[in-house]
Amino acid sequence: MRFELAPLIPRGGSWPAFRATAYGPDAFGQRLIPLARRWQRHRTLLSAPRVLTINFGLALLVVLGASALGLPRFVSVLVLGMAVIPVVALVGRALVAPPPLAAALAYDRRLAMFERLSTAVAGSRADDRMRELQRRDAFEALEAVNPSLAFPYRVPRGDLGVVAVAAAALALGMLAATADVLPRLGAPAPASALAESLGSAADGAAPALADPAVLAQIDQIRAAMAELERQRDPDAAPAALAAEAAGEALRRTAEGRRLGRALDSGDFQAAAGEARELGEQISGMNSTRMDELADGLREASERAEGLDEGLANQLRAAAEALEAGRLADARSALSQLAQEIETAGATVQADRGLEAQLDQLARQLAEAESLGGEGLPGAEGDSLGDAAAAAAAAATEGSAEGTTGSEGGGDSVASGQALEGTLETLAPEQRLNVDGQLEIVEIKPTEEGAEVIERPVLELGPGGSSGFEASAGDRGFAVGRPDVARNVPLDMLPMLDRYFSEP
């Protein structure tokens, strides 16, 4: 059997689609040709939905897999391009002539022709006269066949859903391969990219409760935060504290004031410069100033002790050299102190970068968890503000920790780094402190419990204060609280109302 492609261009105005090699040159064979072509296209059309669905579905999976593995985009485009091959194959199949016997059998079966056509095609051992009769009978049956009724070009209704799935798979595959909008699932994405993608997701419509996509985002954020926490240098925070403490001691000395301010403000680069400049100025100092500087350096050394041993040692070495009057040693020690400050500065700076990323992730986590609502797996005990506060607290190591609200019936511990924010965007756990900076508040009742004093709403505040204090609408907020100014701006009223309007 020889298969031949149908010519794409009609020859002589007709469509002699298949040569007569397989079909025979007689009237029966030529009549069978268009019927065979019709059947071939019909069955190709019937098989196309499932073939395309499987093809495009597999392509979509591969594209998603490539995206998840972080493979270059051209791989996805290549896979999608390869998915076109079966489409071409289907088209080619529709153009290729089927075996005559198969086509004849198909019509026999479809039209209940009792194998008239297939017997005429396949032949038999009957005598010539009977074979001729049989072939004539088959030809008469063949002429009565209406191929468009026997094999219509129509996709069965049951396969329409399959067609829709194939189209959807193709569209998604193209979208994933070209736009790359789908998240790189499972890949260790950089925190910034993750934050961007999550931000764009959060800007869209709010997902449904316990949306798997939101849960996945939360998991990703937590994983990224854990990774960043792992990358943080444990010596960075003590080094910053040591510099701050040393700067505070040095600020009290005339010669070391500029160095102390630089250290206190966390400007390590400037502090290093000041240390080197101080070393150059030693030779011009009198003994009194030198002693004063030595005392300041020694005190700074003592304060840095236990926090940053390197800084403390250099401070001590400079102090001892100055006390002993060894100016060269003192200059050298201050130069090494400058290097030590630069090293500590680099460590602290890197840690602050990580801390900033952690803060950003903490906000993203809070947003995602608020979108996901309650009942999220793993969210209990670690929900929303807690996660953000934990991240922030880990970043600052209690740099702004203290007790507030001592008269509120329990101790509130405010911890975390000052964050930019406005009242309108505050979460229930957040507030602005007296400096106008954002704080995240954790309510932690003391173990022994606080004394509960029953007071009327309008009599809050220190004893003896009038219940008719001039205030914004007699709201009974914490009048006279040490951390709240008497003249409260109106835009703080919602926050005050939220936290302090109940006895």
Binding site: D108, E115, T119, A120, G123, M130, L133, Q134
Partner: protein, 337 residues
């Protein structure tokens, strides 16, 4: 070319004639036998194909009447043998008797038995002893009878139509497999429907009795049979027959699962021959010149149901040959499936 066309037209005319004659036979028999069109048709098919028929059914369903009606519709010598336990082989085949000659000498002369007919009705064949049943073997297959070293050829056409009763098995002798295999078809007569039963009452209890007219002769049957054998059968249709028969062989790799479980011996090649011959007759009666799958399927059950020898497990599970055949027909693939 003209000769060929004329030859084809003559053949076509013959085919039409035979088709009409077969239809006329069925119609004539139908005057006596109400309903049972399929049984009548299959019986006629066997006559045309030259096969013997075993008809099974409970008493009173018209088995014997069917065969008698056929004998009347076709101009054939008809004989009826009522099989009983004391029936002897010679009662069937005939025997040599001593004759007094005119010259005073005594000679043996062969007195033909009832088997010397064109259409033999062997009524309740399973009531005779195996020895007597075996007397029919040679006649059924070889179309001849051997008595006392003499061979007597039976005149064609020769058909044996046997009936048997599936109940009242006491004192019966089930047909041996070799003899069962010689029946082309085994037809099972079922109870008539309510409408058919009313029609039977109308026809048989009134004053007027239907008359059956002779519409064909024995030569017509032979000619029809010869013509039917010329009907074309394509290789893929022939392969389907082979596949069906192989599916009944428990040791064959292509055997059906039920065959492996319940069949002791499958169908013989005679089953395939019977299917093809009957299918050709079906095609001829349908005005076609080729055999189709449906012809084979129509012939499959009557041709194979009595050729399946089931095992004890089938008997224990009350599995019938029909069930196995249904499963085989359902699962055997045809070309183009």
């Amino acid at each position: 070319m003209t000769t060929a066309v004329n030859g084809s037209e003559a053949t076509e005319q013959l085919a039409r004639t035979y088709r009409d004659q077969a239809a006329a036979i069925v119609d004539e028999v139908g005057k006596l036998i109400v309903g049972q069109r399929e049984i009548v048709r299959d019986t006629v098919v066997c006559l045309i194909a030259g096969g013997n028929v075993l008809i099974e059914g409970v008493p009173g369903l018209g088995k014997t009447e069917l065969v008698r009606a056929l004998g009347r519709a076709i101009d054939l010598r008809f004989s009826r043998i009522q099989f009983t336990p004391d029936l002897m082989p010679a009662d069937i085949t005939g025997t040599n008797v001593v004759m007094d000659g005119t010259d005073g000498q005594r000679t043996f002369r062969f007195e033909p038995g009832p088997v010397f007919a064109n259409l033999v009705l062997a009524d309740e064949i399973n009531r005779a002893t195996p020895k007597t049943q075996a007397a029919l073997l040679e006649a059924m297959q070889e179309r001849q009878v051997s008595v006392a070293r003499e061979v007597y050829v039976l005149d064609p056409p020769f058909f044996v139509m046997a009936t048997q009763n599936p109940i009242e098995m006491e004192g019966t002798y089930p047909l041996p497999e070799a003899q069962v295999d010689r029946f082309m078809f085994k037809l099972v007569v079922d109870y008539p429907t309510a409408e058919d039963l009313s029609e039977i009452l109308d026809r048989t209890t009134g004053a007027a009795q239907p008359e059956v007219t002779r519409v064909a002769t024995g030569d017509d049957l032979l000619a029809m049979g010869a013509f039917a054998r010329r009907v074309a059968i394509a290789p893929h249709v022939g392969s389907y027959v082979v596949d069906l028969v192989k599916s009944t062989h428990p040791e064959d790799p292509t055997a059906h699962e039920l065959t492996r479980q319940y069949v002791r011996y499958g169908c013989s090649p005679r089953a395939a021959q019977a299917m093809v011959l009957a299918a050709k007759v079906y095609a001829m009666l349908d005005g076609r010149y080729n055999v189709g799958f449906d012809d084979i399927r129509a012939a499959a059950r009557p041709a194979m149901r009595h050729r399946l020898l089931l095992n004890f497990e089938a008997e224990a599970d009350a599995v019938q040959a029909e069930q196995i055949l249904d499963a085989i027909l359902m699962s055997t693939r045809r070309a183009g499936d």
